[in-house]
Amino acid sequence: MAKTDGNGYTILFATIMVVVVGGVLAGLAQGLKPAIKENERFEKQQNILYAMGVNENVAGDGGVNFIPTDKVEAEYDKYIKEAYIIQNGKVTQSDEAFTVDMKKQSKLPKNERKMPLFVGERDGKQFFVVPMYGKGLWDAIWGYVALDKDLVVQGVFFDHKGETPGLGANIKERYFMDDFTGEQIMSKTQYSGITVAKGNNDPKNERKDDNKVDALAGATITGDGVSAMIKSTLKSYVPVIKDFKTKA
């Protein structure tokens, strides 16, 4: 056994092991990449449709139910009519909108950012779905908000990377997301966004024009993150959606 105890042997062994393992994992990652990318695409389509209200939610059940993955592609093509990229105030129709990496864009200066906008139609009504990306307590949060042409929220979807389970992680629960439906993002004529507010005297969320939804207990910073994300993202979209309305 003496030969396996030397320092030279130990270093040699470690080197070979790392190279072999690295090679195997790199090969595997390359091989599975297409399948994983496809799954991520389906998930994004599910999320966008969910915000638009195209989902399999059951009243009273309280669970979040997406369109099943095997049907989502067809449903997405059926409901989402057009996709745009907004860059520095300029709106261009582009199929690339779907593949825009929100994380990368969030690091660019504001006037260089590509901001995607998906325009969908359901039951003869137009929906503007806006992707958002922001910061929670621990890590990234993101989501989609669907607005109608009068800038009233029709539905939202949130997700997060690592918020605290049972507290901030509940932003992806239906009872939180459902609260946003019907909220105004304008306060009279002024842009205001939507604030996740504590003690807003309206826990049942009956007033839809107060630009506030009830906060989650124990998730102050995640809630603030959601407010900030909505406020900063939607601001740039307001003139664009107003434009769509006057043109239509």
């Binding site: 092991m17 393992v21 599975l32 994983i36």
Partner: protein
């Protein structure tokens, strides 16, 4: 089981009952708490550990004579980590939703003490064939408990099994719910996994008093 010698049989059968990694050795408890709220997640975790432990034991056993003893724990960790990444990537490619549900727990297989325990205690000192049997046996012993706990927690907590509403519909009030039965939401919380494991330990030890430790 005629293909296996008596000694080899014991390698597989012992961890299923009298030398069970969870109920007797009390290893791998944290994953048993975390993922047993649903039967499906339990089964996937059991299968993943079966894969990682079975193959890992063979790999370590094949290398047992060339692994430098100074860095053997790190070598073991690398083998587990590699296999876990393989499982994780495969799940992401072929069972995406499940992989999102399991998310961190697949990564946590790395820290599952059963795996390092078997590498260190068995695979480093035995041939690949016997190590493979030992790995399979221990992973099955772990998986059986996981599935039993998952079965009861999902059945009593959500009234479903593998997502199928076996007790009727709690909202429409059909089946058992029509006579006033309610789901016990408590079963979905982690502490109840410990209590179910505790009950299994109780049953097992009362059937086989030889397992009871002397104080």
């Amino acid at each position: 089981m005629a293909i296996l010698s008596k000694k080899d049989q014991r390698l597989i059968l012992d961890p299923l009952a009298d030398d069970n990694p969870i109920t007797i050795q009390v290893l791998g408890i944290c994953s048993a708490l975390a993922i047993t709220a649903q039967l499906k997640a339990s089964i996937v975790m059991a299968v993943s550990v079966l894969f990682v432990l079975g193959i890992g034991n063979v790999v370590i056993s094949l290398m047992r004579n060339i692994i430098p003893s100074k860095i053997r724990i790190i070598v073991q960790l690398i083998v587990v980590a590699t296999l876990v990444i393989v499982v994780d990537q495969t799940l992401k490619a072929f069972a995406y939703e499940l992989s999102k549900e399991l998310s961190v727990f697949v990564g946590l297989i790395i820290t599952n003490c059963i795996i390092m325990g078997r590498f260190e205690a068995f695979a480093l000192g035995n041939g690949p064939y016997r190590s493979f049997l030992d790995g399979i046996g221990n992973a099955l012993g772990y998986g059986v408990i996981l599935i039993i706990v998952g079965f009861f927690r999902e059945l009593l907590g959500s009234g479903t099994l593998l997502g199928v509403k076996v007790l009727g519909d709690p909202i429409e009030k059909t089946g058992l719910y029509s006579i006033g039965y309610e789901n016990n939401g408590f079963m979905l919380l982690s502490p109840m996994a410990l209590i179910v494991v505790g009950l299994i330990i109780w049953v097992q030890r009362s059937k086989n008093p030889a397992l009871v430790e002397e104080n």
